[in-house]
Amino acid sequence: MDNRQPREFWPPLVAGIGLGLALMGMFLFTGHGLGANGFFTRTVVWLSDATNPAWAGANAYFKSYLSKGHPLDAWISWEIAGVAIGALAGSLTARRFQWKIERGPHTGVAARLALALGGGVLTGFGAPLARGCTSGLGLSGGATLAVAAFVFLIAFFAAGLLLSALTRRLWQ
């Protein structure tokens, strides 16, 4: 085999066991699970406070975050730094790191980026509404058997399955 080829992905069972142990370890150490969206919320609060402090200070949603200070004081920022390093380590050591704009074979670059932006806007709106994301609420809540996690996950998969009737051509 050509050794410039990327190595294949791990079997989902093995990677899932690893992820489950990492998640359990996080709970044992910290008392809470893994998250992701909280980092972006903190970033938005910080950017808003830096660019328009009067508006940010008056905002009811930002109120609980503003007292918590700089994003670098938040544990979730350091966790996300770990995620970034872990993703780099995994992809570089298996020759899977590749600069690209990933898209379906029949989707143009401009269309892909417009859809990435639109999907991001919906996600950025939906995650604070749900009080968490696929990791912070779905995965971490699931590990504690929280009802909230399963409400979220059922809605997440149902919407994705329904939407894919319209979006599958973008990706395949």
């Binding site: 509404l129 696929t134 994705g160």
Partner: protein, 197 residues
């Protein structure tokens, strides 16, 4: 032993985050084509990795609890807000079907070289700003249909935790069987070499 240690120190979360990102990457969940192939039922990696992780972590925490090494009630357990969580979950499912990522996988996507993930992240920052800007009018929805504080499946159903874990493991196994059956009929899982072409 007296878990949780309630230590959210930089090193502990950095290490946990490292493994989080690493295991997402090695299972291919930094790829938007692979992530969205879950919704077309061609590639069941998202379901398999997530469900196995949930069952393993839940079973591990239960074991620590049974052995008396863990104060389970000291763990953070979210309270259900049925309406906001269902709508938010549907928005994230829609966002992934359209945009190809969720918040965590977008970080993995960006740090495996995918520039579309950066655009998705910019979109998320805009979306959260819009949410905050409209928070006053959303507050009714945000607080509606609240469930009991920190309710778990055990509290909801009255079933013992070991039985719920067995049921979830059975559901995961059924998903693996169904997934394997559908994967062979819909073009097979998306491989790393296919993504590199």
């Amino acid at each position: 032993m007296n878990f949780p240690l309630e230590n959210s120190g930089m090193l502990a979360v950095l290490v946990a985050g490292f493994f989080f990102g690493y295991f997402l990457e090695v299972s291919g969940l930094g790829s938007p084509r692979k992530l969205t192939a879950q919704f077309t039922l061609r590639d069941w990696s998202v379901f398999k990795v997530m469900f196995v992780a949930i069952v393993v972590a839940a079973a591990g925490l239960w074991l620590f609890d049974v052995l008396g090494w863990l104060r389970f009630d000291a763990l953070k357990i979210q309270t259900t807000f049925y309406l906001a969580m269902a709508i938010g979950g549907a928005l994230l499912g829609t966002g992934m079907a359209i945009g190809g990522y969720c918040p965590g996988t977008s970080v993995v996507g960006l740090f495996t070289g995918r520039l579309d993930a950066l655009v998705f992240i910019i979109g998320m920052l805009i979306g959260t700003t819009l949410f905050a800007a409209n928070f006053d009018s959303l507050q009714g929805l945000y607080l509606a249909a609240q469930g009991p504080k920190g309710q778990t499946l055990a509290a909801l159903t009255g079933l013992p935790i070991w039985l719920i874990l067995l049921l979830l493991a059975g559901l995961a196994a059924a998903g693996f069987r169904l997934g394997a059956w559908l994967e062979t009929r819909r073009g097979g899982v998306i491989s790393a070499s296919e993504l590199a072409e």
